[in-house]
Amino acid sequence: MVSFSPPPSFQVKKSVWTLMAEVHIIGQLSGTSGFPCASLFCKWSLQLGGGWKVVEGVSEGQTQADQSDTGNTSTWCHPIDLHLSTRGIQGWPRLLLQVYRQDDLGRVDLCGYGVTHVPTRPGHHTLVCHTWRPVGTFGEEVRRAFLGGGPQLLSTEFIHSSLERYRLHTIAAGLVHLELGIILRNFEKYGVIY
């Protein structure tokens, strides 16, 4: 819903214009679905543009490892609570997710990478992030099926930057579910419509 705020009057004091715009992200990493049965955990981190700053909250973390009992879903309910402030609207924050698994034979493996951007509208959002994992040669895939330890990315640059992404060969993995509540502050003063 587009909302127009009334234009501020010209008698406005200078102090109003130095108020920063802030974004609150309060939510949780709910869980996954569609991954093969194993104990899954996720490493998540927040990626910001240049003009953004984390005021309060931790911007990266790791969930617990959860083994699914019912079907192929696992549940983390890992809290995400962040307070960001920004100088401009470019470089909107993104969440980088890496899902690993550890099964009962003790194999630790990469299960998927995914990126999802933080919604720009205030309110409660339910997000689904579709993940992928890199694929190796046929021999490596057979080895991964029996022993674990498939190919992993050497640097997380490939996930979020567009420079060399075409060199990747990937296969689809499961889904990660997130629930985020967004609160925006002071964006109307700068004429930003969201």
Binding site: P7, T18, M20, V115, T116, H117, H125, T170, A172
Partner: protein
């Protein structure tokens, strides 16, 4: 039965806890005392006693005759925070002459010698300070199951540095720890790690074996104080103690012990309270200022914008591609089409490729997951018209390495507030794709065996540009066939300078109905005045 951890209590202290004092009473229960305090006995008789009160029967004043001649064990101690009391095993260990010259253990050695010389009744209550690193032995279990936790280096990375440093210093007496001598201090200083542990223990070995082995040590109370000022006490000591806790020794004598823990910290004077309150206020004010400073960044426009210019910032990702049946692996090429009057600012990726993804069947649907982010930063000048488009093309790579076109589509960048039409996933837009069709069977076979792309050279077939002279667009004769669809999740934000544009409405000519109402009222008034004048004239 509740898990034992639930008996712990949390207290908050604003500063370091230096005046914490705890009194611990440990008593061995003899056979007759056990009978005296059994619940069955309470119910039956001896009317004077209340139900809740089970007094610790002091040894000397026991009304019941004692069965054994040997006296049972009783010890009361008053313990302060991080107050070191040596255990019987430690007394034996540290009184060895090998510790006499070691500077680190010198004080402990002297204490041990003193204890041995005194030769009074045995002490069973002792403590482990934070430096004794008992927490690493105790903290390893998270549940009551005996399942070994698998070694996972991924997850232990955070604590490895701390653990190895602690384990290295645990070699008692073998190697001299060359780091700071602060470990001799009894009270912790501000450079201590996150949590400080303090254990009150008891050694429940049978009397003749006291001091030989550490196997009989039992934790009576565990205190943990972390840097936020939170003190965790397990089990709690301020609940009104109904029954003393009972523990059983696994030694040869199968003795039963009871212990009680009380908090007898001296209360600070009112002045100190006020001082502390003032200090806490100061600290919180400082913290609020800090937060304001960090968050108080000046707004930067990121490029000058003249009047009437609108800035569109789009963040999104190409999430996945669905329903591409006859492709083995797929990648999507996206390019931005800007109508005239639009320009892109720095930092926007106007063109890109997704990784190529093998198509696999998830829930019966051939899917390729991309999750490829893109961000666009565009400015529309005053002369700009229309709205930019994202052009998408999907290509498949087969096992011979050939590229083949699978679909083309164009996607209008959404305006702010436009949620996708996908029900279960919001702000997801599904874009259906088509590809140029092969009409003759020969063409179809050629496409199947040889592959190859039929690239669209004229992109107006995807999206119609605004500045077209023709008034009627005809695509007659162009055959296409539908292929799969691509999902994108996009959010957009618009920034415009509204101060210079006057959006207020000029209220000179009110809307139609108001004119007529006013006119009617005017006319009525005029006619009434005329009537009056006419009446007066009569």
């Amino acid at each position: 039965m509740e898990p034992a951890k639930d008996q712990c209590a949390y207290y908050f202290a604003k500063e370091r806890i230096t005046n914490l004092q705890i009194r611990v009473s440990l008593q061995q229960l003899t056979g007759s005392q056990l009978v005296a305090v059994s619940p069955r006995d309470l119910e039956v008789g001896s009317g004077g006693r209340e139900e809740e009160e089970i007094p610790l029967v002091p040894l000397a004043n026991s009304a019941l005759p004692l069965a054994e001649s040997t006296s049972s064990f009783t010890q009361h101690s008053v313990i302060k925070w991080q107050h070191k009391l040596l255990s019987p095993c430690e007394i034996v260990e540290f009184s060895r002459p090998v510790y006499a010259d070691n500077p680190k253990y010198k004080t402990l050695h002297e204490q041990a010698i003193k204890h041995k010389r005194r030769k009074k009744r045995k002490h069973r209550i002792f403590t482990y300070q934070h430096e004794d690193h008992y927490q690493y032995q105790n903290e390893s279990c998270v549940s009551t199951s005996k399942k070994m936790e698998p070694m996972s280096w991924l997850r232990q990375r955070k604590n490895v540095a701390e653990n190895t440093a602690a384990l290295r210093s645990q070699d008692t007496g073998e190697s001299i720890h060359t780091t700071e001598k602060k470990s001799n201090k009894k009270y912790a200083d501000d450079t201590s790690p996150h949590q400080q542990y303090f254990y009150i223990m008891a050694d429940l070995a049978p009397t003749e074996n006291l001091g030989e082995t550490q196997a009989y040590e039992v934790v009576l109370c565990e205190l943990r104080f972390d840097t936020q000022g939170q003190l965790t006490v397990t089990p709690d000591f301020t609940r009104p103690a109904t029954k003393p806790h009972r523990i059983e020794s696994y030694g040869a004598d199968n003795a039963q012990y009871e212990y009680k823990i009380e908090n007898i910290s001296p209360i600070r004077s009112l002045e100190e309270h006020q001082q502390e309150a003032r200090l806490a206020e100061q600290l919180s004010k400082q913290r609020i200022e800090e937060v304001h400073q960090v968050a108080g960044l000046e707004w930067e426009d990121g490029g000058e914008r003249k009047e009437g210019e609108v800035r569109l910032v789009v963040t999104g990702e190409i999430t996945r591609a669905l329903h591409f049946d006859d492709a083995s692996s797929l990648y999507v090429h996206y390019a931005l089409y800007l109508p005239p009057g639009w320009s892109s600012n720095s930092g926007s990726e106007c063109e890109g490729f997704t990784p190529s993804c093998v198509v696999s069947y998830i829930d019966g649907v051939p899917t390729a997951n991309y999750s490829t982010p893109f961000s666009l930063d565009l400015t529309r000048h005053q002369s700009g018209r229309s709205w930019p488009l994202l052009l998408l093309a999907a290509y498949s790579v087969d096992w011979l390495g050939r590229d083949r076109d699978e679909g083309y589509a164009s996607f209008t960048l959404p305006t702010p507030g436009d949620t996708g039409r996908n029900d279960d996933n919001e702000s997801v837009h599904t874009v259906a794709m088509w590809r140029p069709a092969q009409t003759s069977p020969l063409d179809k076979m050629r496409r199947f065996f040889l592959g190859g792309c039929q690239l669209i050279t004229d992109f107006t077939y995807l999206a119609l540009p605004v500045s077209t002279q023709v008034e009627r667009v005809s695509r007659l004769g162009f055959n296409t066939v539908s292929s799969g669809s691509v999902e994108l999740r996009v959010s957009s934000v618009v920034q415009a300078d509204f101060t210079h544009t006057d959006y207020g409405m000029v209220v000179e000519t009110p809307p139609g109905w108001q004119i007529s109402t006013l006119a009617v009222i005017d006319a009525f008034n005029r006619s009434r005045q005329k009537l009056r004048a006419a009446k007066q004239g009569l």
